[in-house]
Each structure stands twice: as C-alpha cells, then as structure tokens.
C-alpha cells in the first residue's frame, strides 16, 4: 500500500501541498487530479524520495520513504517504475539501451538475456521494431510507450508512477497510452499513481480518484463519489 499520512511537501520554505491523507491499496490505480501548479507532481516526488516530507509520513509497502538513508533509497527506488511527463528517455542511448538500462545497472545478467527481456518489453508496448533507434526519432506517443517499457524493466516493480502520461498527445494516442496503462495494471497487478489534469483519461485508467485544490486534497473516492460530489471546484472540473 502507498500511504500519505498528514503529509506536507514543498521546496525550501514554500509549502506546495499540505496535510495530504490518501492511500492506494494493493493492485489499484489512483489518479491524482487538479489544476496546473496544484502540486500533483510534487506528490510523486515524495513517493520517489526526491522530496522529503516537511511533516507527516509517506509509506510504501511498509517503508517510510523519508527515513531511508542514501543507500537504502537507491535500493527502494529499484522497486518503483516511473514514467515521466515527456518520457525522459536518455537521448545518448538507443531505445533498447534505454529499456535495458536498469538491467545493465542492477543485474549481472548476460547481454543476450537482457536483450531478450528488452525485446519482450518492447513487444508488450508494440515497439519492438524501434529497438535500435534513438529517442529523437520517436513521436511523443512512442516515447511514452518506451518510457513505460523502461519503467517495467525490473522483473517485479511493485509501484508504477505516471506523471501526466498523456499531456501533449492527440486524443487517439492518449487513448492508446491509457489502454496500455490499464494493460500494465491488469497483467502485473502493480499499485499505480497517475497524475493528470485530463478527466477523460483519468476515468479511463483509474479505480480511485483524488482531487487537489489550494494545496489540499478536497475529495477522494471512486468515480461515483466524484460524479456525485457537490464541491464547486469538482463540479467545475467535471463540466469542462
């Protein structure tokens, strides 16, 4: 379970989100919704241990992220797959090298075994034919697919984090990325946290939803709870 217990996060003295209390159960996908700059991505940085809570506690599978030392945090992050907004693929490496990066870094597998795993992952995201291309040769949607394959490279990622996975994509490509996120969820039973401001995409991928507004969580629940909410911010969000 991913659990935020009265968590406040920020940069320097500036608090971005405060008093966050949410929990993502095993095998479920929670979507964090909110307007731009509301601190949605900051929550992901908290889960990754890039930002330490100013107060409160973030626990993932029982590990209190803020209490992990430098060595343990590197090990902890190996259990997490992260898909960045634009993919964040390493542009000096080929697609295959990007996907196999984690395996080369953290396993002593022989090259042919790593290549097999890379091909399996690229087949899963339907991009095996671009294995030798560089990221600059890929479209936005293809980059996100490769990023998802790279995030799944560890044999058993327990957690998948997606930061605005469909931003800047056309509706057709967005839909295919959402389907892929659902497919990852269904096949690997990971806990997922998806940050987005797109309600349609949110409903396509999420089991649970949490709205952030004015640096606080104003509502958490399933789709029905969200749709029945009388909160003016959520009503406005739903109507746009």
């Amino acid at each position: 379970m991913i659990q935020f217990e009265s968590v406040s996060l920020g940069y320097g003295d500036k608090v971005v989100v405060s008093d966050i209390n949410i929990a993502v159960p095993e095998g479920k996908t929670m979507v964090i919704l909110g307007d731009s700059g509301s601190g949605k991505s900051t929550l992901l940085k908290g889960v990754l241990g890039i930002l330490h809570p100013m107060s409160g506690r973030i626990t993932v599978d029982g590990d209190s992220v803020g209490d992990l030392d430098e060595k343990d945090i590197l090990l902890y992050r190996q259990r997490i797959g992260m898909v960045f907004q634009e993919g964040a693929l390493f542009d000096s490496l080929t697609v295959g090298e990007n996907v196999g990066f984690w395996l080369w870094e953290h396993t002593d597998w022989p090259d042919d075994r790593i290549e097999e795993r890379v091909r399996t992952l690229l087949r899963f995201v339907k991009l095996e034919d671009v294995i030798d291309k560089r990221p600059e040769a890929l479209s936005g949607g293809m980059k996100r697919r490769v990023a998802i394959a790279r995030a799944m490279a560890p044999q058993d990622p327990k957690v998948m984090l997606y930061d605005e996975p469909t931003t800047g994509l056309d509706p057709f490509t967005s839909r295919s990325i959402c389907d892929l996120i659902r497919q990852v969820q269904a096949e690997f039973r990971v806990m997922s946290l998806v940050v987005t401001h797109d309600l349609h995409d949110a409903f396509r991928v999420g089991d649970l939803f949490s709205f952030i507004h004015d640096s606080k969580v104003i509502l958490t629940g399933d789709r029905k709870t969200i749709e029945e909410s009388k909160d003016p911010f959520i009503r406005t969000f739903l109507s746009t």
Binding site: L75, R77, E105
Partner: protein
C-alpha cells in the same frame, strides 16, 4: 546587511555543494569505477579536442618564437631561443592555452549537456532508477579531464616547440641542433613538473565546474544558457587563479631556477 549575509550564505552553500560533489565523485572513482563510461568521456573530452588544441599550440609556438626572436636578436641572444621558448611554453603558455581552448569545448559542452538532461528530467530518471548521477555522469567526466588534459597539453607543447623551431630556423637562422640543445637545457625537473601538474589541475577544473553548473541547472532553455555562461566564466577565472597559485607553489618548492 541582510542582503550581504544572504549572499555570503549562498556562497558558503555553493562551495559546500561543490565540495560534496567532488568528494562523492572521487569516492565513486575509487569504489565504483565505470570503465565504459569513462572511456567514452576520454574520447569525447580528449580525442575530440585534439584538432583545436594542436592548432592553437602550433600557432602559439610560431608566435612565441617570432616575438622572442624580435626581442632577442638585437642582443645577439638568438642561440637562447630554444631555451626561452621551451621554458615559456611548458611552464605556462602550453597548459593555460590548452585549457582555455578546451574551456569552450569541454566546460560549455558538459554544462549544456547535463543542463539539458536536467531540464528534460533525464537526471531525475537516473535517480529513480537507483543510479546516482554523480556516479554515472560526474565521476567519469572528471576522471577523463584529469587524465586527458596532461596528455593533450604535453602533446600540444611538443607541437608548439616544433613550430617554434621552424620559425627560429626560417627567420632567426638558428640551426635546428642549437635550438634543440636549448630545448634540452630547458627540460628541467621544475619545468617538467609544471608541464605535467598544471594540466592535471586544469582538467579537474574544466570538468568539475562544467558538471557542477550543469547538474544544478534549472529553468529550461534559459536556465541551461545561464548555467553554461556561469560555468565558462567560473572555469576561466579558476584556471588563471590556479595557474598563479601553482606557479608560486612550485617556485617555492623548487626555487627560482
């Protein structure tokens, strides 16, 4: 007063961050040496800089021999051209010139590359995948700078001396054996220590400052540009400061010879 204190606190924090980056970088070199990444950086930083450093060295050698010939000829001291040119080049001119030429290529290149990696979240991606950017990005670059800079500088010195000999022979009518005899006289332990030690420090300055500003870059394309400017200016100043301090140190150690 408050502004002054804040500025001082910023400087102390920056120096502390730099020292920590360098400490961790050296620790990774000793405990987790990345042969493949280091060889790639040695190729990019060293081999890639050969044309520009050699070209600059040749013209520096030509110019120094020409200038010294003009100054020394009226005193009938052309026979000393080899010694004077060699001393100037290997003690100061060679290492400083090679470093300043490489500054534009290496420091600017490293800071812009790492800055863009930061802006496109590639450095965050490294962290997330359990890899310390100081291990993967910084340590190989600093090591490559420390190893390749002396090789480039000393090779450049040799080419500068060849060019100097050409001018001395063609214009000053100094026989080549006499020029080389002067070169041999100038290859003292003190001069050779200068020739080897200074580029080691300069290689460290070029790469570490490039890495430091690149990895701290923020604010997209504008931020990357600002980081590159800061890195180049800081590295240029520190090369000149380090050159003076090393000259003074070596003179104190070896004496005025």
């Amino acid at each position: 007063m408050k502004l002054f204190l804040e500025k001082m606190a910023d400087i102390v924090e920056t120096v502390g961050d730099f020292a920590l980056m360098v400490f961790k970088g050296f620790r990774y070199m000793l405990t987790h040496f990345r042969t493949g990444d280091t060889l790639i950086q040695m190729d990019r930083i060293g081999v890639g800089s050969i044309p520009i450093v050699f070209l600059a060295s040749i013209f520096a050698g030509l110019d120094m021999a020409l200038q010294f010939e003009v100054v020394m000829a009226p005193y009938g001291a052309r026979a000393l051209l080899g010694k004077v040119v060699t001393t100037s080049i290997i003690r100061d001119m060679g290492p400083v010139l090679a470093s300043l030429v490489m500054l534009a290529r290496v420091t600017a290149g490293i800071s812009s590359e790492l800055g863009m990696m930061n802006a496109t979240q590639q450095i965050d991606a490294l962290r997330v995948m359990g890899v310390d950017p100081l291990d993967r990005l910084v340590a190989p670059r600093i090591f490559a700078g420390i190893v390749m800079m002396p090789i480039l500088s000393i090779s450049g010195d040799f080419l500068a001396l060849l060019a100097g000999m050409g001018i001395s022979t063609a214009i000053g009518h100094v026989p080549a054996p006499l020029f080389w005899s002067g070169v041999r006289d100038a290859l003292t332990a003190q001069n050779l220590t200068n020739a080897f030690l200074k580029p080691v420090f300069f290689g460290f300055i070029l790469t570490s400052i490039g890495c430091f500003y690149g990895i701290r870059s923020s604010g997209g394309a504008y931020g990357v540009g600002r980081s590159v400017t800061k890195a180049v200016v800081a590295a240029a100043i520190w090369i000149l400061v380090a050159n003076f301090l090393l000259s003074k140190l070596l003179i104190n150690i070896w004496g005025l010879s």
